[in-house]
Structures are given as structure tokens and as C-alpha cells.
């Protein structure tokens, strides 16, 4: 783990994983800056772009370390090394 990289785990669920070759769990590294936020203004990775795009879709929940990101300040949340970000689509079936 280098100090200028943030290692994150991105998990897709509730059907979203279908858009990622059916792979639920992705480990990524992004360049760390002072106060890296979930949206840091400039898009550096495909994954970050995905989070941005999906979090604005209706019917999608974003969880940061198993907590609704609305409790964490949404886009203002400052990322920590090792954070797990889950994007999950609400299910409607029964």
C-alpha cells in the first residue's frame, strides 16, 4: 500500500453487477489527495465515474462501510484507505 494511493473496494449488488461482467466486488486504487472525496471534481477512474453516474440514478443506494451515504455526507464524505463502497439497486420482486 503506497501512501499516495487510496485502496478501495467497490461492490455492486441487486442486479448492478450485471453491468460489470457479473463481477460484484472490485478492488481499485485511486490517487490520494488531501481530503479525497467521493466526488472529487475531476474524474480519475472509470470506477469513480460509475459511482457518480449510478448514485444519481433512482432506485440506487450507496453504502459506505455498510452505512447509507446520506448519513456520511454523501459526496462530501472524505475517503479513507480501505473503505468499502457498495452500490446496490433496490429489488422489487418477491
Amino acid at each position: 500500500m503506497s501512501l499516495d494511493q487510496l485502496n478501495l473496494k467497490i461492490v455492486f449488488g441487486g442486479g448492478l453487477e450485471l453491468l460489470f461482467s457479473n463481477q460484484r466486488s472490485h478492488n481499485i486504487s485511486i490517487p490520494s489527495r488531501v481530503n479525497s472525496k467521493l466526488y472529487n471534481g475531476e474524474t480519475t477512474t472509470t470506477e469513480e465515474q460509475n459511482i457518480k453516474s449510478f448514485s444519481r440514478r433512482p432506485g440506487i443506494l450507496v453504502l459506505i462501510n455498510d452505512t447509507d451515504w446520506e448519513l456520511e455526507g454523501e459526496g462530501d464524505y472524505v475517503l479513507n484507505d480501505g473503505d468499502e463502497i457498495v452500490l446496490i439497486s433496490t429489488l422489487h420482486g418477491g
Binding site: G15, R24, G59, T67, D68, V86, I88, H92, G93, G94
Partner: protein, 307 residues
């Protein structure tokens, strides 16, 4: 469910039938009477509703409403365990009624062979204490949430698709979110798939349906943060996990049959003050009745084939 009514004694057969749960610490006669006095309505008698109803009836919930307009089809039997081959083409609500009476003839079962709509939702749901959302489509989920808020009742909501399941209690006192708090806008219709299109494993709906019954029974027994009931249970020495419930956020249980670990709990936001469902400017009942939930969710393509 009121605490002030003196407890009527149970009959001897009731003591025998429910003995295994009545001897649980903190349950006792009082817990059984709470179950007997409780009225629960289950909307949708498909993959989720069947196991939930089965366990609520077995536990002795006194009155069960059963809402479904659909009939039993051969393709349902892979997961809808209350229905049988000989009851194919019978209304699901009536098929469920027969099955539940065989398990427990001492409770009241009220079938509604009708589709829940914005016009009948309040009339059907008002006489129940707790609502179980066991449906399979987006418009009914919004309708159930709005009506649960209007009636001030908790909504135990289950959902399943393919190998995944989700479980959440909406509108839980004092500040739990409603469905609209989480999902202010409905999903784009083209992204909504039904279980008929994508498939679902029976054990997945079974797991979530039984867990909906778990949460419903906890609500009836007062194990979800109701202060009055909680005091009762403390005196009867239930495990201290109870204390944790008091100021807990609402949670979403996520089950994925093949993942490790298969269960995940997420902490959810509290009510949104400006939520159109449960905030200050919330929909009045009249508004609910004026709402076309199918159109709100983007069109008529909605298939209520009871899961």
C-alpha cells in the same frame, strides 16, 4: 396490542399449542396474548407472502389479512409453498386461507381477492396493526408506503430477485424512513425487471419471507424500540440486545445466496423532513386516492403476478 387491557386467560389447547414459545424468557402469557390480539395484513401471497403467512399463523397471530388478486399457476409452486397442485387456478388468497386454516383453525383469516389500488388501500389496511409488503412491483410498493404513513403503521418490506433478497422496515416509530425517503423517484421503467423475466430461487424468497415474519413478531412483542413494551420486557429479563434497539438507525438486510458472508446489514438514514411521503408536506389520504401509481412509476407495463 394495548397494554392496559387485562389479560384474558388462554384456553388449555392454546397453552399446549403455544407452550414452546410461551416458555421463552420474556414471552410468557403476555407475549402470546399480544400475538392473539395482533392483526397483520400480508399484501401478495407469492414467494414472500407464503412463508411469512405460514409462520405468523403458526405462532398464533390472531387476525391475518391476505391480499392477492391472482390465481395459482403451476409456475408458482417452485417457491409459493402454501399453494398446491390441486388448488391451481384458485385465487391465491383463498388457497392460502385453506392452507392456513389447516395449520391453525383458531385464528381469523380474512382473504381479499382483489388488487390493492389507491382507492381501496386505506379501506383494506386500516384495520391491521402491521403491514407486510410481499408484492412484486414498484407502483404497489409506493402505494403501500404512502398508505402506511397515512395510517401510521409500520411496513415490513421484503423483496427478492434471482439469488438476492432485501428486507427493511419502513415508517418505524419514532423516526424511521419511508420508502420515498430512500427512493424519492421511481426507477426508470426499462430498468425494472420482474421475477418472471429474471427468475428467482425459491429458497431466496423463502429466506426473506421467514425473516419478514421474524421482524413482524418482534414488532408485535415490542422488541423494536417501543418504550412501553420495552419496559415490560426488561422486567422479564430478555437479553440486553433489546437496549440496542432503542436508538438504532433503521437498517436494510441484504441477502445474497452465493456471497460470503451471505448477509449484510446496512444502516439507513432517518426520515427526511422534506420527504413527499412522510415529511411535513406529506401526501394526505385524499392525495393518495388521486394518485395514479402506475403512471407515477412510468407506465402501464406492470405485472402483478404475485411473485
Amino acid at each position: 396490542m394495548s397494554m392496559s387491557i387485562p389479560l384474558p386467560p388462554l384456553s388449555l389447547p392454546e397453552y399446549r399449542r403455544y407452550g414452546r414459545q410461551m416458555i421463552l424468557e420474556g414471552f410468557g402469557l403476555e407475549g402470546q396474548v399480544k400475538l392473539r390480539n395482533a392483526a397483520v395484513v400480508v399484501v401478495g401471497v407469492g414467494g414472500l407472502g407464503c412463508p411469512a403467512l405460514q409462520y405468523l399463523a403458526a405462532a398464533g397471530v390472531g387476525k391475518l389479512g391476505v391480499v392477492d388478486h391472482d390465481v395459482v399457476d403451476l409456475s408458482n409452486l417452485q417457491r409459493q409453498v402454501l399453494h398446491t397442485e390441486s388448488r391451481m387456478n384458485m385465487a391465491k388468497a383463498l388457497s392460502a386461507e385453506i392452507a392456513l386454516r389447516e395449520i391453525n383453525s383458531s385464528i381469523t383469516i380474512k382473504p381479499y381477492v382483489t388488487q390493492l389500488t389507491s382507492n381501496n388501500a386505506r379501506k383494506i389496511l386500516y384495520e391491521y396493526d402491521i403491514i407486510l409488503d410481499c408484492t412484486d412491483n414498484v407502483p404497489t410498493r409506493y402505494l403501500l408506503s404512502d398508505t402506511a404513513v397515512a395510517l401510521g403503521k409500520p411496513l415490513v418490506s421484503g423483496a427478492a430477485m434471482k439469488l438476492d433478497g432485501q428486507l427493511c422496515i419502513y415508517n418505524l416509530e419514532p423516526d424511521g424512513p419511508c420508502y420515498r425517503c430512500l427512493y424519492p423517484r421511481p426507477p426508470v421503467p426499462t430498468t425494472v425487471k420482474t421475477c418472471e423475466e429474471t427468475g428467482v430461487l425459491g429458497v431466496v424468497t423463502g429466506t426473506i419471507g421467514v425473516l419478514q415474519a421474524v421482524e413482524c413478531i418482534k414488532l408485535i412483542l415490542g422488541l423494536h424500540g417501543n418504550k412501553n413494551s420495552l419496559l415490560v420486557f426488561i422486567t422479564e429479563k430478555l437479553p440486553n440486545d433489546l437496549y440496542l434497539c432503542l436508538d438504532k438507525n433503521s437498517t436494510l438486510l441484504i441477502f445474497s445466496a452465493l456471497s460470503f458472508p451471505p448477509f449484510r446489514n446496512a444502516k439507513l438514514r432517518k426520515k427526511r423532513p422534506n420527504c413527499p411521503g412522510c415529511g411535513q408536506d406529506r401526501l394526505k389520504t385524499a392525495k393518495i386516492e388521486e394518485t395514479d401509481y402506475v403512471a407515477f412509476c412510468g407506465g402501464p407495463a406492470f405485472d402483478y403476478e404475485g411473485m
